[in-house]
């Protein structure tokens, strides 16, 4: 059983006919795949094809072994947690209400919602009593990021999409969140598709790393193997990676 599967996907828009070109990739259950690529390589498009914000021009995208065209888009999106780069917390809702949006749409009882919110805040290492009633703009960047992830996990979706989740953070916070992500993933075992432009991050977080260039997946394999790759397009990312980087796969 695979979480996400791309089979020969092409995607284009009027201006650019080949944003994705014959893209194939599978993310197994409980696996983390980190996609690396320069901006404009088509990484975000890959994510949007998963929760059907976009539909492929050719080929199939399958989520939990079902073609996204056959999914009801609302059901599909509620089964796929999505953390976008800008996080997009709702500024008119408190932290707790932000996290509770989807559970409430799913008509959970109030008690269950409250319990879930506290559970997620605790999981994200945010004290529920302190943070539940804060407003998004009272949080630091790292805290906001945690809330964004908590919100995406609210109804325990089996699949999680992360678009440059730690991109806007300072290096210290970033490193801290990265290791927390590994801790959390070790417990939750979601199918995760993560997009980043930082090879160091990809190698630290991914069970497998995929390198994208101009709409194509040019390399894919475990982080350890990437050192042996001599494709200059891949090397460019490896050489630019932030050292030192653990090559750990202990969460896999």
């Amino acid at each position: 059983m695979s979480g996400i599967e791309f089979r020969g996907v092409c995607f284009g828009r009027n201006g650019r006919p080949r944003i994705l070109d014959d893209f194939s990739l599978a993310v197994g259950a409980g696996e983390v795949v980190a996609l690396v690529g320069a901006s404009g390589a088509g990484k975000t498009t890959v994510l949007k094809l998963v929760n059907r914000l976009l539909l492929p021009g050719a080929g199939d995208v399958r989520v939990q072994d079902k073609d996204t065209r056959e999914w009801d888009p609302i059901r599909l999106r509620r089964s796929v947690g999505y953390v976008i780069q800008e996080i997009g917390l709702f500024p008119h809702l408190t932290v707790a209400d932000n996290i509770a949006v989807v559970p409430r749409l799913e008509r959970w009882s109030d008690d269950r919602v409250t319990a879930r919110v506290r559970e997620l805040l605790a999981l994200m290492d945010l004290d529920p009593d302190t943070y539940a009633n804060r407003w998004p703009d009272e949080l630091s960047g790292g805290q906001r990021q945690r809330v964004g992830v908590a919100r995406a996990l609210a109804i325990d979706p089996p699949v999680l999409l992360l678009d440059e989740p730690f991109g806007a953070l300072d290096p210290v916070t970033r490193r801290q969140l990265q290791s927390e992500f590994r801790r959390i993933q070790a417990r939750l075992r979601k199918s995760v598709l993560l997009v980043t432009h930082d090879m160091g991050e990809a190698m630290m977080l991914g069970d497998r790393v995929g390198v994208m260039d101009d709409g194509r997946l040019i390399w894919c394999g475990p982080p350890r193997a990437i050192a042996e790759c001599d494709d200059p397009r891949v090397r460019r990312f490896v050489d630019a990676a932030t050292p030192p980087m653990p090559t750990g796969t202990e969460s896999a």
Binding site: L53, P73, L76, Q85, E86, G88, F90, V102
Partner: protein, 509 residues
């Protein structure tokens, strides 16, 4: 002080006008919200529509409200005179800021926030209700605030088309050149605007996302019940008897007095309920109102009807003009009643001092000196076929500069104070005597006769034959001297038109 006294003396009328004003604003703003917010949501979904929408809204906002009332006059169903037409205009005005602020509020939401909502699996409706509307709400309420405050201001102009409201005092004050009457209407209107602004500002703050759910709910409940109360209360207060005769008048002193004389005569003689829609903004507005049945009767002048309403050539024979006009009215479902007895011709006026110093008696005399003079005329006189153009041609009049356009009533003051040197007023104006003005003789008999005659809707007379009998009793009863005296009482002694009419009718009993 005189304003205070005016309020105390007219407290009942003030309450009614205030209620009418609130009613106009509350109803029009509520309807504008009900139409404008969905419209704005619709437009914000279609970016290609939204930009032109906002542009049109901005342009339409700049159309002066009086012009807007003018445009709508001939439009069926919503046009005409009275509260309905005024509401249509006020709704239109309110719509624009509300639509605009809704569009701006929704399209101004950060793209990532909407994307997060969609990505979380919100349906478009959930996104709208939970994310877009709450985030756009402060902007929408700000738009409603603008709409309501503009509405309070525009509603004063609604008095020009007989919709009532505080504007009536403003117009009455203008036509009586009495600033305390103007203030009597302007002050409560300004206070109302401030109150509305403050109230909605409070609401805006309460509705801001920062307030808890409970506080917002409470504010919503307060706002809704207040609107409900306003609508119900002002509707009751401004409601009028359904089976009543509606008397209209134009917007100058003599017409207000005549309107009262007609109204009180009907009240006295028939016991029917009479509603007054006095102070309508001009001949054509009165005519259109009579034609559409918005008013049942008003007093017109034969020469005016002949030339301004029916576009016929002016003629000098009073009897022939009256018969011709009677015929023309009959052909359009209206009935010319018996002339009241005086001829209110245009009076070409100069300062008494000038007339004496230069020995001016006729317009011909004045034509020799006008090239060094300035003239000021009302809008109507400049436009009418029996107005300025023909006069200038007949007498070969030229002036130092093109004639200045000014309000008829204000032109008397402008003449007396030396801003202009010659005006066209009414022969019966009380101010002629009060301001020491001199009427030049129309020695070439340019002006047609302007016999004052009530005109009524024919079907009204059929339904209430007693109205015709009552008004026939006024035939030939008002002389030019009477009228001048009554105008003088209003213009210089500041007496109330209703009181002047009452004492006139009492004396004639």
């Amino acid at each position: 002080m005189s304003v205070l006294r005016f309020w105390i003396e007219h407290r009942q009328e003030l309450a009614t006008l205030f209620a009418q004003h609130v009613f106009l604003v509350a109803v029009s703003t509520t309807i504008a919200v009900l139409i404008g917010v969905p419209l704005g949501i619709f437009a914000s979904r279609r970016p290609r529509l939204a930009a032109p929408f906002v542009a049109i809204a901005n342009i339409a906002q700049t159309v002066p409200s009086l012009a807007m009332f003018g445009f709508l006059l001939p439009v069926p169903l919503i046009g005409g005179v009275g509260a309905r037409a005024a509401l249509a205009v006020l709704i239109l005005y309110g719509l624009l800021p509300i639509v605009r602020s809704t569009i701006v509020g929704i399209t101004g939401i950060d793209r990532s926030i909407k994307e997060a909502g969609v990505g979380m699996g919100m349906t478009p409706r959930e996104l709208l209700r939970q994310i877009e509307l709450p985030l756009a709400l402060p902007s929408i309420v700000a738009g409603i605030r603008v709409a309501a405050v503009v509405g309070v201001g525009s509603a004063t102009i609604a008095a020009a088309i007989g919709a009532g409201g505080l504007g009536q005092y403003i117009y009455r004050g203008l036509s009586m050149v009495d600033s305390s009457v103007i203030l009597a209407g302007a002050i409560p209107a300004a206070l109302l605007a401030l109150g509305v602004d403050g109230g909605l500002l409070w609401l805006e703050r309460r509705l801001s996302p920062r307030r808890g759910r409970k506080s917002r709910r409470a504010a919503e409940a307060v706002a809704l019940s207040l609107i409900g109360l306003l609508l119900a209360g002002s509707a009751v207060l401004s409601a009028r008897a359904s089976s009543s005769i509606v008397v209209g008048s134009k917007n100058f002193t003599e017409q207000l007095i005549l309107g009262e004389i007609v109204a009180q005569t009907i009240e006295r003689e028939t016991g029917l309920k009479v509603e007054r829609r006095l102070n309508l903004g001009g001949t054509l507005i009165c005519d259109r109102a009579l034609l559409s049945g918005d008013i049942d009767v008003y007093v017109e002048y034969t020469g005016t009807a002949l030339t301004a309403i029916f576009h016929q050539q002016p003629s000098n024979d009073p009897r022939a003009v009256t018969e011709k006009v009677r015929e023309l009215y009959a052909g359009t479902g209206r009935t010319l009643l018996a002339p009241l007895g005086y001829d209110n011709t245009f009076a070409i006026l100069v300062r008494g001092a000038d007339a004496r110093a230069r020995g001016l008696r006729t317009i011909d005399d004045a034509a020799k000196v006008t090239p060094e003079w300035k003239a000021g005329f009302g809008y109507e006189f400049l436009e009418r076929p029996d107005g300025y153009k023909g006069l200038a041609k007949t007498y070969g009049l030229t002036f130092r500069a093109p004639p200045q356009v000014m309000d008829l009533t204000l032109s008397y003051r402008a003449l007396a104070s030396g801003q202009v040197d010659l005006i066209a007023g009414d022969a019966t104006a009380g101010l002629i005597k009060a301001l020491d003005l001199f009427q030049l003789a129309d020695n070439r008999r340019y002006f047609p006769p302007y016999d004052a005659v009530p005109v009524a809707h024919a079907s009204t007379l059929l339904r209430y034959p007693q109205v015709r009998r009552a008004l026939e009793r006024l035939a030939g009863r008002i002389t030019a001297a009477d009228m001048r005296e009554m105008n003088n009482a209003a213009d210089t002694r500041r007496e109330n038109p209703a009181d002047i009419a009452r004492s006139f009718l009492d004396r004639r009993q």
